[in-house]
Assembly symmetry: C2
Homo-oligomer: 166 residues x 2
């Protein structure tokens, strides 16, 4: 079981976008450069995040990506669901219906108990991801990060951050 690398990339991108002034955007190219990741793969994930309503894609020469809502209203679950397309980690293939004891569909009125137990545990995981929000992660980063990193980001911003309509 492995989450897509896109989850790590997407959370970093979302945290960066959440630290921009209101309405400001960063292009997919700039987000890829900032994080040292391949632009084409990153764009796939940014599109998924926009489709899921976590980010917004602003078109035009000064367009790019920005968060679709406030960082405190975006959880790690929102990002994981966007990148992983909401598929459960446990996917029951109903092997109880195979082999020498298999019967017709009428013998299985309920989902398999193993499936239900695995999904109960996934619900706990999802609830825990929902409790982690971008604002808290960003606040902790700003408090604890090496100040030189933040200074370097402040140097990088003016060349890359775009204000649509200006």
């Amino acid at each position: 079981m492995k989450l897509s690398d896109g989850v790590e990339w997407s959370v970093h991108c979302a945290m960066l976008l959440g630290s921009l002034p209101e309405h400001a955007t960063l292009s997919g190219k700039a987000l890829a450069e900032f994080h040292g990741v391949p632009e084409s793969y990153l764009l796939k994930h940014l599109k998924a995040l926009a489709a899921a309503g976590v980010m917004e894609s602003v078109t035009g020469p000064r367009g790019g990506y920005r968060l679709a809502r406030a960082p405190e209203d975006i959880s790690l679950l929102d990002i994981v669901d966007a990148v992983e397309r909401k598929k459960p980690a446990f996917r029951c293939t109903d092997i109880r219906r195979r082999g020498p004891c298999a019967l017709g569909s009428d013998a299985y009125p309920r989902p398999c108990g193993i499936n239900r137990a695995m999904l109960r545990a996934e619900t706990s995981y999802r609830q825990a991801l929902a409790r982690e929000n971008l604002k808290a992660l960003t606040d902790e980063f700003v408090e604890t990060a090496d100040k030189r990193i933040i200074a370097l980001a402040m140097e990088w911003f003016p060349e890359n951050v775009r204000m649509p309509g200006r």
Copy 2:
């Protein structure tokens, strides 16, 4: 993010083994036949379960697999960890150390906050899996399953269940 199909197969096998008389075993071939799954792939998982101390492999002509401890002492976490080799779903590639703001190792005394948050959520998942045990799953199955399935299993057992040393 997807768990190996081996998790589903392994939980079914463990539940079946947990319903046998003490010391009794089933061969990998019989377990594969009962569940309608490929024997070679299943054997890989049974070996991992034995290596993790969830099952025991009994050698000899009447040997096979059996649980290494009582079903109430085997959780879904034990099985998932054996099959998935205890790897976390989120694997930080430390992309914070790339790009225009990257610094040397001394600038990153702690793991990335995103990694820590993702692993906090995984801890909730693992705790939930640890609360699900084989005995409870088996009891629920016996109470709720179609009685014809249990009758068919009772017919299949005498030809396949082995008692070592007899």
